[in-house]
């Protein structure tokens, strides 16, 4: 590990990318969650779970430095949050693009490459090697997520699953070491949930990109997870899924009786969660 050539920042396997220690967050004076401790190591697949309104998205924003925390410590790549956001691929919580949006998927992917640089993109002839590298990388990530067929269509005309794949391509384009995904499966049908989950898993395993993913339903990603963190207003529990998603652990965390049932196909159902909209689609 000490045999690094100068200038090369190589993260050794298992190094901590993300360390949250006793973090408390408040939005508009209202405490969202408190005393959350979380670690994400290189190449790990971690899910953030919990009922609505417990601050799962807030946690991700704190990691990105978009939201100040009111207590505790957040370290991202051994630095305060927001310092190394170019090493993070972020997919915010969202609904679909407006059908009238007249921008192609490939343009959306390209924004991830240099959309934050001032000025305009010059035509290919003038940019030489840098331009070619950008175009090659765009093609590469589009192929990686399997979006070649519809990348040239206006994004508004792509289906929810297609849009999600293109946005994952955008998040991946700068070869991030950490993907931060906010409910990427939420607006998808069951088939697309499975295939997008598998895509995220393959990115995580074969490219060594750590994933921190907020999910409303753990089942599509359950087989792939290394760690889960269950958030509650008063704290959080982190560990391997089989240890955390149990009746005892969750009952203790939420201070109420919670059952974890498993059906014949292995799907987990958490019953009794203090979710204010438990019977409905998550409200936003």
């Amino acid at each position: 590990m000490s045999e690094q050539s100068p200038g090369e920042v190589r993260i050794p396997a298992g190094a901590e990318l993300l360390a949250l220690t006793g973090v408390t967050a408040a939005v508009g004076g209202r405490a969202i969650f408190s005393d959350v401790t979380l670690r994400v190591r290189a190449g790990e697949f971690v899910a953030v779970l919990g009922p609505n309104g417990v601050g799962k998205s807030t946690l991700l924003k704190a990691v990105l430095g978009l939201l100040p925390i009111s207590g505790g410590r957040v370290e991202v790549f051994d630095a305060p949050p927001g310092r190394h956001n170019s090493r993070i691929g972020y997919l915010p919580q969202r609904r679909a693009f407006d059908p009238a949006t007249r921008i192609r998927g490939i343009d959306i992917v390209r924004m991830g490459w240099d959309g934050d640089r001032w000025g305009v993109a010059l035509p290919g002839l003038l940019t030489g090697r840098a331009g070619r590298a950008a175009r090659d990388r765009v093609r590469e990530v589009i192929a990686l997520v399997g979006a070649e067929r519809y990348a040239h269509r206006p994004i508004g005309q792509c289906s929810g699953g297609e849009q999600q794949r293109l946005l994952i391509a955008q998040a991946l384009i700068r070869r991030p070491e950490l993907l931060v995904l906010d409910e990427p499966l939420d607006s998808l049908d069951v088939t697309n949930q499975a295939s997008v989950s598998a895509l995220i898993q393959s990115v995580c395993r074969s490219h060594g990109v750590a994933v921190l993913l907020v999910a409303h339903d753990v089942n599509p990603i359950l087989p792939y997870l290394d760690q889960v963190i269950y958030l509650a207003h008063g704290g959080a529990v982190m560990g391997p899924p089989e240890q955390v998603i149990t009746a005892d652990t969750l009952s203790m965390l939420y201070g109420t009786t919670i059952d974890v049932l498993r059906d014949r196909t292995g799907r987990l159902v958490v019953v009794g969660q203090p979710d204010s909209h438990a019977e409905h689609e998550p409200r936003r």
């Binding site: 990105l64 978009l66 956001n85 170019s86 993070i88 972020y90 997919l91 915010p92 969202r94 609904r95 679909a96 693009f97 407006d98 009238a100 949006t101 007249r102 921008i103 192609r104 490939i106 343009d107 959306i108 390209r110 924004m111 991830g112 240099d114 959309g115 934050d116 640089r117 001032w118 000025g119 305009v120 993109a121 035509p123 290919g124 175009r135 765009v138 067929r149 519809y150 990348a151 040239h152 269509r153 206006p154 994004i155 508004g156 955008q170 998040a171």
Partner: protein, 310 residues
């Protein structure tokens, strides 16, 4: 007045022999390029309402300036830019209201401001006696009114505005389409939005001086909306929007010269015709695309553009 012959070259030569026409064409070209470019982003950001309000705010500016004996140009630019800064400073205005792919409409506050602006403009015009034809030309434009000094002012404003738009370029597009990710990537989304509103104000003020306050949209919205129906590529869309704006301005001014009807009518009508054609083209290609996708023989349907990404 002047007669139209079917010899187009002679007609153009005749048209260009008048200094006021030359100035009208110069001003029209500057304004069309500016409005076509800024308008493209305005349509993408769904900020047409803000754009319209800024144009209307220019009306009391120009009327007030004329009343006080100042140049109408100064009134247009001063009021429009001040209006843009106010809209940018409004809490949450200019922030997207929902979803992706553009901005929600600005709040009702802007509509309220628009009504007050129109009323003030009318008051100023009524205070300025002996300015009978002024009201219509301020609201609907005139072909004769552009002075040399105004052309120079427009040129300076237009060039500055386009340079600023080039500098904002990618971050503006990024924060328009995907504000959350842009913010996470360190784009100052709010600042870029405010900067764009100022550019929009300059474009609206400039365009008002040719088309009048109420017909600004002929150049600011219609060419951009037409272009976005023809292509989903940002670079090409921007270029088409500018070309359409310039074309309808030249044609409109030319026709207005030979006809008894006002310039605003012609420019607007031509722009609208282009928009209708583009909408028809879009509907036709979409229907064809759907039919091609439905038939199993045409496998790779739906990707008309092969390579060449920008």
């Amino acid at each position: 007045m002047t007669g139209f012959s079917w010899n187009l070259i002679e007609d153009v030569a005749l048209l260009l022999s008048y200094h006021f026409m030359l100035n009208a064409l110069r001003a029209g070209t500057i304004v069309a390029v500016l409005a076509g470019a800024i308008g493209y982003f305005m349509v993408l950001r769904r900020q047409s309402f803000a754009g319209h309000t800024l144009a209307v705010i220019g009306f009391p500016g120009a009327a007030g300036a004329t009343w006080l004996g100042l140049s109408a140009s100064a009134g247009y630019f001063g009021f429009c830019i001040a209006g843009a800064l106010v809209i940018a400073a409004l809490p949450r205005a200019g922030r997207r209201s929902s979803g992706l792919g553009g901005y929600g409409d600005e709040s009702a506050v802007i509509g309220t401001v628009q009504a007050v602006a129109l009323a003030c403009g009318f008051l100023f015009v009524s205070q300025y006696r002996g300015f009978l034809s002024g009201l219509t030309s301020l609201l609907f434009g005139t072909i004769t009114g552009v002075s040399d000094a105004q052309v120079l002012a427009l040129l300076a404003a237009g060039a500055g505005c386009l340079l600023a738009l080039l500098a904002l370029g990618r971050p503006l597009l990024f924060s328009t389409i995907d504000p959350d990710v842009a913010e996470a990537r360190g784009v100052p989304v709010r600042l870029v939005g405010a900067g764009f509103l100022v550019l929009l104000a300059v474009a609206a003020a400039g365009t008002s001086q040719v088309t009048g306050s109420l017909l600004v949209f002929a150049l600011l919205v219609t060419p951009a909306a037409t272009a976005s129906r023809l292509t989903a590529r940002p670079g090409l869309g921007l270029l088409l929007s500018i070309l359409i704006a310039v074309a309808v301005t030249w044609l409109g001014e030319g026709i207005a010269f030979f006809s008894p009807y006002p310039i605003g009518f012609w420019v607007t009508t031509l722009a609208f015709a282009a928009f209708l054609l583009a909408t028809g083209y879009r509907a036709a290609t979409e229907r064809l695309g759907r039919r091609a996708a439905a038939s199993p023989a045409a496998a790779p349907a739906g990707s008309p553009a092969g390579g060449g990404s920008r």
